[in-house]
C-alpha cells in the first residue's frame, strides 16, 4: 500500500452513501416492479442520477457529469421515446406466463446476490488508495492523457463501433418505400375490385351510448365491431369496449318497459 492509503472516508460521504444508496436501491426495485414502462424509465433515471452523485463522490468528476448528460439525459430520453412510440399504455401484465420462472429467478437472484456479496466480503479490503494523486493534474486531463495514449486504440475502435451502431439502427428501423403510395382513387378502385368494404367503414360509436373515437360501434346483436375504430387505436389496444354496458342498459330498458307494460295490463285487467 502506498503512503496515500487511507482506511475510511469522511463521515459526510458515509451519510450521503447511506441516504442516496437507499434511494438507488429503491429506484432499482421500482424499475423492475413498476407496471408501466414509463414509470420504470423514470425510476431508472433516478437511480442513474444517484449513481452520478456517487461517481462524483468517488473522484470521477468527468464520469459523473457524463453519466448525467449522456446517460440520464440522452439514453434515458431515447428509452422514453421508444416507450412512447410503442405505446404508453401498452402496459405489460406482471402476470407470469412461464412455469416456474419466478421461482427460478428468485433462486438464482438470491444465490447470485448472496454469493457475490459474500465474495466481496471475503476479500476484506480495509485500505484504499484514493485518487488524490491521480487527479492531481485534473480528472479530465488525467483521463484524456490515458485515453489518447494508452487506450487510443480502444478509443478509436469505439468510434467505429458507434458508427456501426448508428448505421445498424438505421438499417433496422428504416423502411424503404418500394412503390408509389396509392392514391385515394386507386384505393377506392381496389376496394371495389376486391369487393371488400365498398362503402366507407362504419363510424365509431354507432348505436352506442357514446360516439367518442375509441368506442366501437355495435352490431345488431349488440357485439362491438372493431372495424369502426381507428386502426392506430386498435393496435394500441386502446378500445373502450362498452358493449356489455350497452347490453346491460338495453336489458334494463326492456325490463323497465316490460314492467310498465305489465302494469298497464294489470290496470286494464283491473278495470
Amino acid at each position: 500500500m502506498s503512503l496515500l492509503a487511507a482506511s475510511a472516508t469522511s463521515t459526510g460521504e458515509a451519510v450521503q452513501f447511506w441516504i442516496l444508496g437507499t434511494v438507488a436501491v429503491l429506484g432499482a426495485l421500482s424499475t423492475v416492479l413498476m407496471k408501466k414502462a414509463v414509470h420504470s424509465a423514470l425510476c431508472l433515471a433516478a437511480t442513474m442520477i444517484v449513481l452520478a452523485v456517487f461517481y462524483l463522490a468517488n473522484g470521477a468528476y468527468f464520469l459523473g457529469i457524463v453519466q448525467i448528460v449522456v446517460y440520464t439525459g440522452a439514453i434515458m430520453m431515447l428509452f422514453l421515446f421508444v416507450v412512447m412510440l410503442v405505446g404508453v399504455t401498452a402496459a405489460d401484465s406482471l402476470k407470469e406466463t412461464l412455469k416456474g420462472q419466478r421461482w427460478l429467478a428468485a433462486l438464482a437472484a438470491l444465490g447470485f446476490g448472496i454469493l457475490l456479496i459474500a465474495g466481496i466480503g471475503q476479500v476484506g479490503i480495509s485500505q484504499f488508495n484514493g485518487l488524490a494523486a491521480a487527479n492531481s493534474g485534473g480528472n479530465v486531463q488525467g483521463l484524456a492523457a490515458l485515453i489518447f495514449t494508452k487506450y487510443v486504440f480502444a478509443f478509436e475502435i469505439t468510434g467505429a463501433l458507434l458508427i456501426t451502431a448508428t448505421v445498424g439502427a438505421m438499417l433496422l428501423t428504416h423502411r424503404e418505400r418500394t412503390e408509389r403510395a396509392s392514391t385515394q382513387r386507386e384505393l377506392a378502385e381496389k376496394r371495389v375490385r376486391e369487393n371488400t368494404h365498398v362503402p366507407p367503414l362504419p363510424a365509431p360509436g354507432v348505436y352506442a351510448r357514446h360516439n367518442a373515437v375509441d368506442i366501437p360501434g355495435l352490431l345488431p346483436d349488440g357485439t362491438p365491431s372493431e372495424l369502426t375504430v381507428n386502426k392506430t387505436l386498435r393496435e394500441r389496444g386502446q378500445i373502450r369496449d362498452v358493449s356489455q354496458e350497452a347490453l346491460d342498459d338495453l336489458k334494463a330498458l326492456e325490463q323497465r318497459s316490460a314492467e310498465r307494460l305489465g302494469r298497464d295490463r294489470e290496470e286494464e285487467n283491473a278495470q
Binding site: 436501491v25 449513481l51 464520469l63 420462472q101 446476490g113 485515453i147 445498424g168
Partner: protein, 99 residues
C-alpha cells in the same frame, strides 16, 4: 466508511437488474434492467479506480458507457422493428427464432 460499500451496493443493483431481466416481459423494461446492470458495473469500476488510486477503472467505465450507448441504439432499433412485425413488445412473443 470504507469504499467497499460501493461494491456491495453495485452488487445489489446488479442482482436487482439481473432479476428484472429475467422476470419482466416488456422488452423495453428488460432493456432498462440491462442498463441498470451496466450502471452497477460502472459504479464498481469507479470504486475500484478510487481504491487502486489510478484512473484506469474510470477509463473502463467510460468505455462501458460508449458501448452501452451503442447497444441501446441497436437494441431499441430491434425492439422497434420487432414491434412493427409483431405488434407487441413482449419478449415472450418472439419465441420462434423467426419472424
Amino acid at each position: 466508511m470504507n469504499p467497499v460499500n460501493y461494491l456491495y451496493l453495485a452488487a445489489l443493483l446488479f442482482t436487482i437488474g439481473a432479476t428484472g431481466v429475467v422476470i419482466r416481459k416488456n422488452a423495453i423494461v428488460v432493456f432498462m434492467c440491462v442498463e441498470l446492470m451496466l450502471n452497477a458495473c460502472n459504479l464498481s469500476l469507479v470504486a475500484f479506480s478510487r481504491m487502486h488510486g489510478n484512473l484506469d477503472g474510470q477509463i473502463l467505465a467510460f468505455f462501458t458507457m460508449v458501448v452501452a450507448a451503442a447497444e441501446v441504439v441497436v437494441g431499441l432499433a430491434i425492439i422497434v422493428s420487432l414491434f412493427r412485425a409483431r405488434h407487441s413488445a413482449s419478449v415472450d412473443d418472439a419465441s420462434l427464432m423467426k419472424l
